[in-house]
């Protein structure tokens, strides 16, 4: 009989448990002696695409040549004298406001090519202001869309679907501290899977969707959103029905919800949003100019 190597993807019976495992005092469930953490469990197509094609292209696209080291930053006088004991611990921005919008991006190197860090999906549900149980449909929809649960796979940093509460009291609209929406943060393969679903199932099926509208050429390029490397856009409620996870049992949800999607990248400084858009469009999310 020819010798065959055992398959690496098949497993035999797990070893028998000889000594009963200690029970958790809270859940009364048996606890394994080590902390089990699960990691990537499948190759990720879009992540491979980033590393084989996009990363090189973005480095060439966004490269800015600099001759020699940069000149030292201009010293701008602070609003208050920092040596004055009276204003020592006061917030002390430079004269003319913080220079956040004019901060230069770090020099282009192969190490800091623009890269996706996380994708955040956020749904606000106004009906939750009157009755917080209206949030259940929102939470369920987000869980179905992303499959995220708190501390999934033993990863303590995975937060799952989180409830968003009102930040401020705004008369006639919102109250401070009441739940008004839900959000979920995706990282790693889950993030790339979501982008894949979005670009292959959802965006092509939205009616009269030409692409995400770019701001006009006259838009201010020094705003915090333009220099923080985040690309955001919204989807209408009708788009949720196109996600295959929701499409299979659309009747189970009280209604369809629109959502905001934020693509957070590592780009910073002047022109960061443009670089982030170049990256996101590499994942086949179209952008159009306003006509």
């Amino acid at each position: 009989m020819p010798l065959r190597a055992p398959s690496v993807a098949r497993f035999g019976r797990p070893p028998a448990i000889r000594k009963p495992l200690p029970l958790s005092p809270t859940t009364r469930l048996p606890q394994p002696p080590v902390k089990i953490v699960t990691r990537d469990f499948a190759p990720c197509r879009l992540e491979d695409h980033y590393h084989s094609t996009l990363q090189d292209n973005l480095m060439y696209l966004t490269y800015t040549h600099e001759l020699g080291p940069r000149p030292p930053p201009r010293q701008i006088r602070l609003t208050y004298d920092p040596n004055n004991p009276y204003s020592k611990y006061r917030h002390n921005p430079p004269v003319g406001g913080s220079q956040l919008g004019r901060k230069l991006p770090p020099p282009c190197t192969p190490e800091n090519v623009v890269q996706l860090e996380k994708v955040q999906i956020h749904i606000m549900n106004k009906e939750a202001i009157t009755n917080r149980s209206n949030l259940l449909g929102t939470v369920m929809a987000l869980r179905a869309l992303t499959g995220e649960t708190e501390k999934a796979g033993g990863q303590h940093a995975v937060e799952g679907v989180q409830i968003v509460r009102g930040k401020k009291q705004v008369g006639g609209w919102i109250r401070k501290g009441i739940p008004v929406g839900a959000k979920v943060t995706l990282k790693g393969p889950a993030m790339y899977d979501f982008i894949g679903t979005l670009t292959e199932f959802v965006l092509p099926r939205i009616r009269e969707f030409q692409g995400v509208e770019l701001p006009p050429a006259s838009a201010n390029t020094e705003t915090p959103s333009a220099v923080s490397g985040v690309v955001s856009f919204g989807l209408p409620p009708s788009a949720m029905a196109f996600f295959p996870q929701v499409e299979v049992n659309q009747d189970a949800y009280p209604k369809m919800y629109g959502m905001h999607i934020h693509f957070v990248t590592n780009a910073t400084g002047v022109g960061a949003q443009d670089r982030a858009r170049a990256l996101v469009s590499g994942f086949q999310i179209p952008f159009v100019r306003r006509s």
């Binding site: 098949r10 497993f11 797990p14 990537d40 060439y60």
Partner: protein
Amino acid sequence: MSRGSIFQISSSVYCQRKAMSTGSLWSISRPAIRTCRRTMATQVSEPVLQPQKGPKPVLSTAVILNRSPTITRTPTMFERAYYSYQARLRRALSNPFPYDFYFKPGSILETRFTMEEQKRERRAFGPTFGKQDDYDKEKAAANRAAAQQLAEQEGESEEMMPRVHSSDEARDYKSLDRKGKRNLYLLLKDTNDAWRFPQGNVEKGELLHQAAQRDMHAECGEYMDAWIVSRNPIGHYKPPMTLSPKGKPLPEQVTFFFKAHIMQGQCRPAETIKDFAWLTKQEIESYVDKHYWDGIKDILSDH
């Protein structure tokens, strides 16, 4: 970012580099020259410092025309073992699936899903996992029949495309379908029987990236849709120094490379081109000469 001025930038870098490497006059730094010139206006007796002009280098552009991978790469043995172990762990630790939320109780879809799920669980946790559950053999047989009927209705017998294309078996180096897992690059064989990337000269007053676009179409034909990724050159190559018959050094040749992606169509090379081939990085090494390979190998992708 000033994209319009890239040619000026690259040429100034080039001049500066040349200043570093060549003759003694050029090695004087720029401020020094400036001070010399300033003194020239006042003191005529000082010796005039004029940079000696050699022959101008001949610039040309080449396009590294890339076909990106079309199918996913095959995971290694280690990756497969790792992924299947992690998938098994995740299956053991995940929350129970809410059947009643996704399926109508007792529907054929639910039956099929349960059967498939059982198969996956036995693959993960061993062949005896959940055996004691299917006590009713008649019911199990009925379930299988129902699932099979559903599969026939939906026409699920679609065949998967093979991961090896027929052009791989036929060793057709001109096909764009070959080596789907790898990055392919277009190489041309010129009249000197040398293999190289599509290239051409830069005309006077032309920007480098415009020259690249023009030269690519001149050599590869109009029957393809290609996108030059960036206006920045991604590398440069200088062939070894050659001497004229009189023994004087000929002007230096510099080739700037630009990356491009082929989107559609196929290369139909001009008449001056003898042959073309779409090759992976490893294959290119055996085609081109050693000096050219040393100049380009770090530009190409190992993926």
